[in-house]
């Protein structure tokens, strides 16, 4: 019970690990490019949680600043990625990444 009531670093890390796992699963298995993007966002959020948790329990500002930049990065990434997805859709009339394998041969 001790471990459940005393909210410590491991709690956050567990949440982050689960988020990361889900994100990774989305990236690996989903055919829809948009869902893959969502998975990526999950992974980034998991990273953010990790950074902030370590920052909190370490007392420094590094994690906070880092998570700030990650958000910025995520925004940029989402914009570019969606533009690319839309271009892909124009070109292949589909966002099914498994169908887009013209580089195979």
């Amino acid at each position: 019970m001790e471990i459940l009531t005393n909210i410590g670093l491991n709690h956050y890390l567990t949440i982050s690990a689960l988020l990361f796992g889900f994100g990774l699963f989305a990236v690996m298995t989903r055919k829809n490019a948009i869902v893959i993007l969502m998975g990526v966002e999950l992974i980034l959020n998991a990273a953010n949680i990790n950074f902030l948790a370590f920052s909190k329990f370490n007392g420094g500002m590094e994690g906070v600043m880092f998570s700030l930049f990650i958000i910025v990065l995520a925004a940029a990434e989402a914009a570019i990625a969606l533009a690319i997805v839309i271009n892909i859709f124009k070109l292949f009339k589909s966002v099914d990444v498994s169908a887009i394998d013209t580089m195979k041969e």
Partner: protein, 768 residues
């Protein structure tokens, strides 16, 4: 700059101006700008006549000469030669002045005539432009002071001749004729060019004066044969341009051009340029070269006369007659009758221009019917034409009281004198051919006159298909000619009549000499004395010794070239003023028969001159007899019909055909040179495509073979290793390729697998 030079530059450039204006603006000018051409040529003639007047009439000086030049190309300081400049310039002497007046007069008259003859032609304006550039080039030949510029203008008259012969270029015959003319002239020109090169390579100058001076100074380092070759090669230019045997074939075909062009270019001026050029270089011709020239001239005169007998086309008869007369002139130069030849050049220019323009009037009136067989009876319809044509015919035939008689007689006298001086034998062929041709001339001209002007009209006899052909050929003229209209034959308008009258008037003896029997008493032959040769004869050198002969000549040349070795009597008049003209005439008249004449330091020239003088009377008699004989023959055959011409022709059919087909020259050239060139070109082209290129491609193939052979080792050993490597990677690649699905997510899965494997490894390390 002398004022005459300035005027002569204006004379030279005015026709060019006419060309430029007309070629660019003829469609925008009223009347297609013909008045520009006629007006400019009128002005040119006026200026030329002023030059003629002030040079020949006002200052009576046989050695008159002014020159002007400018640096055209500056080669700088050439190694081995020193400063080298190519100059262009103008020279005016008596000959130039006379030629200027003659050329511009005829050109002006032809321009005037063309306003009538060419009226209604779709390219009317362009015709005058072409005449302008022709006149410019011809004046350039006359005024040039050096071989280079004369060559330039030489080819330019060739160009204008090309353009004008092909004026009706829609006709294939015209297109063929223009090409033929240009190419025949080119053949002559390359000879001329080589002659120029021989002289230039020795003296590094093109200027006549300097070349003669250097020759007289004995600076010619190559052998005598080269000098003879130079003379003959330069003469080749004349052979081409003056349609001498063997390059005469183009001139009759050139009659495809409009008739005024035939009159101006192919009768009066351009073809005479060859003779003029030979006269210009007369002093450097060696004896051997002169002999060649004389024989060529004689053969041409005879051959063309025989051909002219059987031709039916009115212009072709005149064309062959022109060739024949040019042969006379060349013959005259060859035998040393320099003045006579040039005299004949001028007289011939006028009466032959008259004949051509007359024939043009006839053709015009007959609605472009050129075949004499279908003419006849025109005397009543065209009295003016008939009168002038007849007068010119008499001059051509060489009847006394005409200009032609005097000049032809002088040439024939020279020929007899030449044969005598050379010691007879084979050289008598030349005067013999000359006299025989004179008879033939009288015969064929009598035939022509009778066929065209006398008897009844034979238009209706013409076969229909023949007529159709004629119609087709001249369709471009826009005339709607039918048989019936021939009955409407009438005299031509004033602008075509006036030139005929003027030219006919210039065929009368009085214009040239007071004595109708002796041209030598006239102003012309006094103004154009035979120049002293600068090369001497072989015999002359042997007798006098080379150095003294050369020295003598050099001395004379230092004063003026062409040097004038004049008689003692005329020496006194070297300062020459007009008031003394009469005195001059008197002294000559008084001295006639005393055997005097121009005295030459060169013994050969002196002997010829002497003999020619002696032969003068003989020549008169023989040539008169010949002419009468020829005319009588014509009368017998065509007027009195004692002999039926057609039956005679059948009786001597091979001879008739030989003449009718122009000695088969065209066929011979077609079979040899033209076919030959085409065959050679085909062969070489095949050679190029198959052999030369084949070698290249073969070399490529060979390289490949050698590559294979030497590559045997490579193939099994070196290549074996290489191939194994390739095989290995190929197979492994084929396996690994399966992993490359192109699906991003597969890669992610694999990546994560790797990460997990690493984790497992990491933790096992951590645990143990």
């Amino acid at each position: 700059m002398h004022s005459l030079i300035q005027i002569s530059i204006a004379v030279l450039l005015l026709p060019l101006l006419s060309f430029v204006i007309l070629i660019f603006f003829n469609k925008r000018l009223p009347r297609r700008g013909d008045f520009v051409g006629v007006g400019i040529l009128g002005a040119t003639f006026a200026l030329s006549f002023y030059i003629f007047w002030s040079v020949v009439v006002q200052s009576y000086d046989p050695s008159f000469r002014i020159a002007w030049d400018f640096t055209w190309i500056d080669f700088g300081n050439v190694p081995g030669v020193g400063p080298l400049q190519i100059k262009m310039g103008i020279v005016i002497d008596n000959l130039t002045a006379i030629m200027l007046a003659m050329v511009t007069l005829i050109s002006f008259l032809v321009h005037l005539y063309s306003t009538g003859y060419m009226a209604g032609d779709p390219r009317y304006g362009r015709f005058f432009a072409y005449l302008g550039i022709f006149t410019f080039s011809m004046l350039g030949i006359v005024l040039s002071d050096n071989l280079f510029s004369i060559y330039i203008f030489w080819e330019l008259v060739g160009l204008s001749s090309y353009l004008l012969i092909g004026f009706y270029f829609e006709k294939d015959t015209a297109a063929d004729a223009q090409k033929k003319a240009f190419l025949a002239n080119r053949v002559g020109d390359i000879g001329m060019w080589l002659g120029i090169l021989i002289l230039y390579s020795q003296f590094h100058t093109f200027n006549y004066q300097e070349i003669f001076q250097n020759l007289a100074d004995g600076k010619f380092d190559m052998s005598e044969a080269w000098l003879t070759a130079a003379g003959i090669l330069l003469f080749m230019g004349c052979v081409g341009k003056s349609a001498q045997f063997p390059l005469h074939v183009w001139l009759p075909d050139a009659m495809e051009g409009p008739t005024p062009v035939s009159a101006l270019i192919h009768a009066a001026t351009m073809v005479a340029a060859g003779v003029y050029f030979v006269a210009r270089i007369f002093v450097l011709l060696t004896v051997d070269a002169l002999h060649v020239i004389a024989f060529i001239g004689a053969i041409t005169a005879f051959m063309a006369a025989t051909i002219a007998i059987t031709q039916n086309d009115i212009k072709r008869v005149l064309a062959y007659s022109t060739v024949s007369q040019l042969g006379y002139m060349v013959l005259g130069l060859g035998v040393g009758a320099y003045s006579a030849a040039l005299f004949h050049l001028v007289t011939h220019a006028f009466f032959k221009a008259c004949l051509f323009l007359g024939s043009g009037a006839i053709i015009h009136a007959m609605h472009h019917e050129q075949d004499m067989r279908w003419m006849g009876g025109l005397r009543k319809h065209m009295p003016w034409t008939f009168a002038t044509f007849t007068l010119a015919t008499l001059a051509l035939a060489g009847l006394p009281l005409t200009s032609g008689f005097m000049s032809k007689d002088a040439i024939l006298a020279g020929a007899i004198g030449f044969a005598n001086a050379e010691g007879g034998g084979i050289y008598y062929i030349i005067p013999f051919l000359g006299f025989f041709s004179a008879m033939l001339t009288a015969f064929y001209m009598g035939r022509q006159i009778w066929l065209v002007f006398f008897g009844e009209s034979r238009t209706h006899l013409k076969p229909a298909d023949d007529h159709h052909h004629g119609h087709d050929a001249h369709g471009s003229h826009g005339h709607d000619d039918h048989h019936e209209e021939v009955h409407g034959v009438h005299e031509v308008a004033w602008n075509m009549r006036a030139p005929l009258v003027i030219l006919a008037a210039l065929s009368i003896f009085a214009v040239y000499s007071p004595d109708p029997l002796d041209g030598a008493k006239g102003w012309f032959m006094k103004m154009i004395p035979t120049p002293e040769t600068v090369v001497g004869s072989a015999s002359g050198k042997a007798e006098h010794g080379t150095s003294s002969a050369n020295h003598n000549a050099a001395h004379l040349l230092a004063e003026a070239v062409p040097a004038v070795g004049h008689s003692a009597e005329t020496d006194a008049h070297h300062e020459g003023v007009a008031s003394e003209v009469i005195h001059e005439e008197d002294s000559h008249a008084a001295g006639h028969g005393d055997g005097h004449g121009p005295e030459f330091s060169d013994p050969r020239q002196a002997a010829i001159a002497h003999e020619a003088h002696d032969a003068h009377k003989l020549a008169i008699v023989i040539s008169s007899v010949m002419v009468v004989l020829g005319i009588s023959l014509a009368l017998i055959v065509y007027v009195f019909r004692f002999v039926d011409p057609d039956r005679t022709a059948r009786a001597i059919r091979p001879l008739y055909l030989f003449s009718f087909n122009k000695w088969y020259w065209d066929e011979i050239y077609q079979a040899t040179f033209i076919k030959g060139s085409i065959v050679i070109s085909k062969v070489l082209s095949w050679f190029d495509a198959n052999v030369v290129d084949g070698i290249v491609n073969g070399a490529g193939a060979l390289t490949r073979r050698v590559g294979f052979a030497t590559g045997g080792f490579d193939k099994y050993v070196v290549d074996g290793a290489v191939n194994f490597t390739a095989f290995f990677f190929n197979t492994s690649g084929a396996v690994l390729k399966k992993l490359q699905t192109g699906k991003v997510q597969t890669y992610v899965v694999l990546l994560m697998l790797a990460v997990i494997v690493y984790f497992i490894y990491y933790f096992t390390q951590l645990i143990y």
